[in-house]
């Protein structure tokens, strides 16, 4: 008798998703899908609101990366008031970047320490009662304490710039609301009240060293698990092709490193992207139209960014990037589990950038807002922690939003995550006489590497977990897993 496995909810991800795996009479995998079962329709209900409300409203998409939505929307709204990214005042650019690096730093720390490290430290098939952040705190207290303080540091940076740690407000059309004071920045530099930015850099390096050691001892698993060729998409610096998180041009490569999107300006994105829909999920499938649905999908996020960039402007992160690239002799890395390592290199990059910005007197300036000539359309693209985030708005003469299109990082990663599920189904579950909890967790380990934010991707509210189920050939659930 054939059967269907359902993982529902998938755990330790942001949002609610479900995995179904169909097995035949001999337990051979015949189908595997990653479904997103939330729906909200943020793009629709923002219509009719005045454009200046967008950066405030859309950040409510998420409690983990609201800053990313706030900034992407702000960049789009800047255009509506006639300001290109390079037209912002230098202090406003730097204050926004400080906010952004604080956000990416805390989000990546959250993912590594709270969500991913239990699998890495205890093993994907270890006791699920221990395989969680409390288990990490009990067995690795020093690591847990560093994780807490690194996340706290990023959140304090967000609070500095935006007023509070979640859903604060920093931007205004054409700039930012407030500067940083000398006293405020000292809080992050002197190490008296919280560990200093120099400590953050030191700890970031230590965590990367841990990850490198982990790769040495677990090389076979990490090199093979959920490895499959894919496109890689992200922003790069328009001048030198370096890693860029706040403002750049769009670049993509295929799984062999051939350029498939050659440094496209943000405003042209909709000439290159299509989104397809499927009946079994609310999450769309973006792809590069000139390559088609089958070949045009891309990973986004830390691994993609390491693959497409030509360097990193901060010295310590660049040194780590070179070590990372040496694994593949400078070529494209399609090994999904290397996403964790890439993410930690970005943690170090963000720490170095925050130090540079905190020590820069421009953030103390009151030159914060620019004005330009009103337009009817604005597009903002940034690299959110999870990958390329696109906000696109059109407004009417009464300043009301008439159209909104959001392509969120996790949406780009929809097909890659489905590929990951199929890889585990075919390589771990296929033909096995008994399916264990540890095997099912490997499905989640593959998804978790992408740090998906399913609420963002469907713009959804509600319960957050993710599920796996097992179906027989008649469509009856015979086993399932959820929290």
């Amino acid at each position: 008798m054939s059967q269907k496995l359902v993982i529902d909810p998938v755990t330790r991800v942001e949002g609610h998703g479900k995995v179904t795996i169909q097995l035949d009479e001999e337990n051979k995998v015949t189908d595997a899908k990653f479904h997103i079962v939330e729906f909200r329709g943020f793009e629709r209900f923002i219509q009719g609101h005045p454009y200046w409300e967008a950066p405030v409203m859309v950040q409510r998409l998420c409690g983990i990366c609201p800053v990313s939505h706030h900034l992407a929307a702000a960049k789009a709204i800047d255009q509506i008031v006639g300001i290109e990214p390079e037209d912002l005042s230098v202090p406003a650019q730097k204050i926004r970047k400080l906010l952004h690096f604080g956000q990416v730093f805390q989000s990546h720390a959250l993912h590594f320490f709270y969500l991913a490290s239990p699998d890495l430290l205890f093993g994907a098939e270890s006791d699920p009662l221990k395989r969680n952040v409390v288990g990490v705190a009990m067995e690795y207290p020093e690591l847990a304490k560093k994780g807490i303080l690194m996340r706290k540091f990023g959140q304090e940076i967000i609070k500095l710039v935006a007023g509070k740690r979640i859903h604060g407000i920093s931007t205004t059309p054409g700039g930012v609301h407030k500067r940083v004071s000398a006293k405020e920045r000292t809080y992050f530099l002197d190490g008296k009240d919280i560990p200093s930015i120099d400590t953050m850099i030191k700890w970031s390096i230590e965590i990367i060293d841990f990850m490198k050691s982990y790769h040495i001892t677990n090389k076979e698993f990490l090199d093979s698990f959920a490895k499959y060729p894919s496109g890689h998409l992200g922003l790069v610096n328009k001048k030198n092709g370096f890693l860029e998180l706040y403002d750049g041009v769009l670049r993509a490569t295929d799984g062999n490193g051939n350029i498939t999107l050659n440094d496209i300006p943000n405003d042209d994105y909709d000439q290159y992207f299509y989104e397809s829909v499927k009946k079994w999920t609310y999450l769309k499938f973006p792809y590069l139209r000139h390559l088609g649905k089958e070949k045009g999908w891309n990973r986004v996020g830390p691994l993609a960014r390491m693959n497409i960039c030509e360097g990193i402007e901060t010295p310590l992160a660049e040194r780590e990037r070179l070590d990372f690239k040496a694994i593949t002799n400078g070529g494209i890395n399609n090994m999904t589990m290397y996403t964790h390592w890439a993410r930690l290199i970005e943690v170090l990059y963000c720490a170095e950038m925050m130090k540079n910005l905190l020590e820069d007197d421009d953030i103390l300036s009151n030159d914060l807002i620019r004005k330009g000539e009103r337009r009817k359309e604005g597009i903002g693209i940034i690299e959110a922690p999870r990958g390329t985030l696109i906000h696109h708005y059109e407004v009417d003469d009464k300043d009301r939003i008439t159209r909104c299109n959001l392509i969120v990082s996790t949406t780009h990663n929809n097909e890659p995550m489905n590929q990951a599920v199929r890889w585990v189904a075919n390589n771990v579950l296929d033909g096995k006489p008994k399916i264990t909890e540890g095997m099912l967790n490997q499905v989640e380990v593959a998804i978790r590497a992408y740090d998906p934010c399913l609420s963002c991707a469907t713009h959804a509210l509600g319960q957050m977990p993710l599920e796996i189920s097992l179906y027989d050939p008649a469509g009856n659930i015979i086993d399932s897993k959820r929290n």
Binding site: R60, L110, L129, N132, V134, P141, I148, K164, L461
Partner: protein, 152 residues
Amino acid sequence: MKNNTIILGIGNVGRQDDGLGWLFLDFLEDEDFEGIDIEYRYQLQIEDAELICNYQTVIFIDATKEITKKGYYYKHCEPSDQFGFSTHELAPETILFLANQLYNHDPKAFILGIQGHEWNLEVGLSKTAKENLDKAKEYFGTNIFSRHVLSS
């Protein structure tokens, strides 16, 4: 962090009665109670274990679906290692457990649960929740504040 007591209000004012915890903090701010630091939370996270280590007394305030006799309950909160394995959202008991495990800190801890009834995507409390909030405020002013804030 200048006081001995921290009160963490948990909830979301965009989900009707789920905003009870935050609205209670608004009341504390408006009334300017002395000796208290307050923090608003959508959900508790592991870093709150580090935060509460700066205090002798912790009070968690949240909306509850539990049926209560008075419209609210107030009780001791004990450390526990029980944890939903899927998420980074933590219970007050787990926060206390982590504070003890990671920082060897064991504050006096209490939970004020205020009964709510409506949880839809709307701003504003239900009529019954408003009444329960008022009862909880009165109890805080006449009882909790003197027993667990001024004495800490």
